[in-house]
Amino acid sequence: MNFGPTVYTLWLREMKRFIRNRGRLIGSMSFPLLFLVVLGAGFKGVFTYRHDVSYMEFIGPGIVGMSLLFTSMFGGLAILWDKQFGFLKEILVAPVSRLSIMTGQTLGTVTSSMLKGTVFLAVLVFGGLVTFHPLGILLALVFMFLISASFVGLGIAFASRMTDPQGFQLIMNFLIMPVFFLSGALFPIDQLPEWLRVLTRLNPLTYGVDGMRYALGGPYQFSPLLNLIVLLGFWAATTFVGTILFRKMTA
């Protein structure tokens, strides 16, 4: 069936909604910016991890990861709103494959999520908070893509199983927030108590944030290759599960 045109159709819709809704755009960008500026300035004095790295420089890549995590998960969960507003039926009754719908939805959300993430990346670069190197930026973009695509898949997986937007708040509190706080975005993980370090190491976002730190000349912990492998695995897993659940879903 017409795979390409369907993917494009869904991507196009996502872009139109992205550009049109300024309120949502500003809303989704202000939260990470608040973290960067307020926490960055607030914890400046108490941060003694490394003397050559300020706290704002430390959390910079973490804030990019935060933005990607939130916008990607929300984007995947947006299927819930389409369910709620009935638009999903219109999509699902069309003579197109589920896989093409899922791919289009994913690409659309990854695009909008990456655009926002890139704005933060630009803020870091122009604010002198990270080391600028063209190859480094390229590698950071690769990590950003993997983070975004993985969490969109996870969002779609959850949205496929949920029937009403009530569960949205649950996912926010018990999944998105813990994943963010336990990702090493806000603190160095090698100084954590043992139980917290275990949790952090189990969190895929940790490897994404660490990979970006490496790419942007920050204090990283793991080998970039390990980071890449973990994220690729996570991406494959969430896409696989997301696709299966999305296929089974009824509008």
Partner: protein
């Protein structure tokens, strides 16, 4: 006949053969069979939960039936899903527009999914928007639309890819009377100008009566009657007398029911609804009988049968647009039915 000719002749037709749908112990559809010809404006009439939407979901390939077969335009809904989907348009019971897009963009999105090229998309959008009278609002976001306009846009969208069959699931649900009339006019105009087979579900009797050339009355997953509105109403054979009684009327009902002229008696909410031959000459009989038994009558009215009466006769219940239907069922005093 060549296969192309066969396809041509089947286009717009629907054949349902022994279709059943079970959700656990609940039978949403029970052995439903039906034939609908090209160009018909066919009504599925019944209360909420009668199985109308289930039937449409199966015909539109959204739901696999438990057993039985169904063909849309000659295509098996189970085996030729894509072909069925390409040949049908649907207006769902609940709203299904993207409010953050304009009318034009909603149509364009739809047309792209159905594989229309850019020229056809433009031409068709203009045509269908004109059909529902929305061409001057096409660049407005759908969230600025009223309920009636949204409904019209959904109908227009269902027609974008020129389907041979259009399903309208409760097209006027939740709309005010004036808007309903307006939608009816558009549906009628559609039938005249487009020639699409239209299958409409409704629980509004007047809607089915006004619009449809044929109606299947559904109740509890079964088709209980099938025919044109005239045929269905004619099947009652007589006039309808509504008698409001003041006191106990069990005996009264019985004696009325024994009369030759009476075809059917249903007691409901303190009223007796009689189907009788030559109603005008039966009214005196009613009063005589009432006087003899000491029954007080507060009013009598006579009318020609409505679809409501047909449904009432077939099921012993009224179709109601509210959730009290069940409670009223239980409150129903009693009912007698005479078979001939």
């Amino acid at each position: 006949m060549s296969s192309a000719q066969a396809e041509q002749s089947l286009s717009g037709s629907i054949v349902v053969d022994g279709l059943s749908m079970k959700y656990g112990a609940l039978k949403a559809l029970e052995n439903v069979s039906l034939k609908i010809d090209k160009g018909e404006l066919f009504g599925l009439l019944g209360p909420n939960g009668a199985g109308k939407t289930t039937l449409i979901s199966i015909l539109s390939t959204m739901l696999p039936a438990s057993s039985g077969q169904a063909f849309v335009c000659g295509y098996d809904v189970r085996k030729e899903e894509a072909k069925v989907r390409q040949s049908i348009g649907i207006v769902f019971q609940d709203p299904s527009l993207d409010e953050e897009l304009t009318a034009q963009e909603n149509l364009d999105f739809h047309a792209r999914l159905y594989g229309l090229d850019s020229r056809t998309r433009r031409v068709r959008a203009r045509e269908v928007l004109r059909l529902v009278g929305l061409e001057d609002r096409r660049k407005d976001l759908v969230k600025t639309y009223s309920g009636g306009m949204r409904r019209r846009l959904e109908i227009a969208r269902g027609l974008m890819h020129t389907p041979a069959v259009l399903f309208l699931d409760e097209p006027t649900l939740g709309l005010d009377p004036q808007t309903r009339r307006n939608i009816w006019d558009h549906i009628r105009a559609l039938k005249k100008s487009v020639g699409t087979t239209i299958i409409l579900t409704t629980h509004y009797m007047d809607e089915a009566d006004h619009l449809c050339s044929r109606i299947a009355i559904m109740d509890r997953g079964k088709i209980v009657a099938l025919g044109s509105p005239q045929e269905l109403k004619g099947s009652l054979g007589g006039d309808v007398l509504e008698i409001e009684v003041v006191n106990a009327h069990e005996e009264f009902t019985k004696s009325l029911n024994q009369r030759q002229e009476v075809r059917d008696v249903v007691a409901q909410d303190g009223r007796l609804i009689l189907t009788v031959e030559r109603g005008e000459s039966f009214i005196p009989v009613v009063f005589e009988t009432a006087a003899a038994q000491g029954v007080g009558i507060s009013s009598v009215s006579m009318r020609t049968p409505k679809l409501e009466d047909v449904f009432l006769k077939l099921t012993g219940r009224e179709i109601r647009d509210d959730t009290h239907t069940e409670a009223k069922d239980r409150m129903r005093l009693f009912m007698t039915r005479k078979r001939r």
